[in-house]
Symmetry: C2
Subunit: 194 residues, 2 copies
């Protein structure tokens, strides 16, 4: 179902944003009709009125969140000054794109990015969306490397992404997970000139 009126559109959007919020701090399982409605300050039935099913709501939330992240990445690309791309600063830039900007709750913020990769395994309906977003992220990274004067092949981009992703998922089981630090270590080693 899609809204036909401006106010309806606003309400629908409020639901999507509420769902995205829940997604970020509780994962996919946190997106429930009642929780979304409550967070958006709307009645329960509005969630079924604007979305035919939970899957649709989950998809919309994921898309919203993913687009926000991609927009952030594009902004970073646009403001990129090729002269200020020293090794360490560049590594941090790549980490910002792949894991989100560094914050005080890294582990939590990063978790969702990997939950959704794995969750896609059991939720085939997310695959088209995930593929699109993943493709855009890869392209973005490719551009970043090029713009920064460190051109790489697309294959190399995939390698570096895999390295970061693998480092992250393995870091999640630590007592005090610090996935960003683990990824940083791997990335620095892989990118240092040989």
């Amino acid at each position: 179902m899609t809204a036909a009126t401006p106010k309806g559109e606003r309400r629908r959007q409020a639901l999507v944003e509420a769902a995205a919020d829940l997604l970020v701090d509780g994962g996919f399982d946190a997106i429930r009709h009642r929780a979304v409605a409550e967070r958006a300050g709307l009645p329960l039935a509005s969630t079924t009125y604007y979305f035919d099913s939970l899957e649709e709501l989950v998809t919309a939330a994921l898309e919203f969140q993913g687009n926000a992240e991609l927009a952030y990445g594009k902004a970073r690309l646009d403001e990129l000054d090729p002269r200020e791309c020293g090794g360490d600063a560049f590594v941090e830039l790549v980490l910002d794109l792949l894991l989100g900007p560094s914050g005080d709750r890294d582990a939590e913020a990063v978790l969702l990015r990997y939950e959704r990769l794995v969750a896609t395994g059991r939720r085939p309906y997310l695959r088209p969306l995930m593929r699109r977003m993943s493709g855009e992220l890869h392209a973005l990274l490719f551009d970043i490397f090029t713009r920064a004067g460190q051109p790489v092949s697309r294959e190399r981009v995939e390698e570096l992404i895999a390295l970061v992703d693998g480092a992250v998922v393995n870091a999640l089981i630590e007592i005090s997970p610090d996935p960003r630090a683990a990824a940083r270590r791997m990335l620095r080693k892989a990118m240092q000139p040989r």
Copy 2:
């Protein structure tokens, strides 16, 4: 709660195995009191009698499954003939250890191994167990490389594992996921002599 009688111990074990089965083909969310009891052919209440909580049952199931995988890895190590360790065969061996033996339903079988890494992010109670199993797996791989006449540093083992893991999670979003193939590609490239 722990069993005190032989029969009780057998029942408890049956529940653990039933839970592990469910874990493998439905993920963590598939471990429910009723589902476990039904699969084990036991009454619902037996699940709460032998396990104080679902968390305990989940933990036991994961440990059982993980130990089975580690045992498989150790068996492969023991039967390893250093002379038959050509490049490709060796890559397959490493993949067997990290992803499980190759089968016709790779994607499904592999999924659980990554679900549990990520799930640990939101289930801190699994961390000690995951750390132990992860540590043993790393050690096992280290031994395998050594025994195969390709000694590596522990750091290098971590790198290769990260590479494989990253390749896998990124492969899960494909229309027809083939995580093993993706991991194989990355691993071959990383291991080819330079």
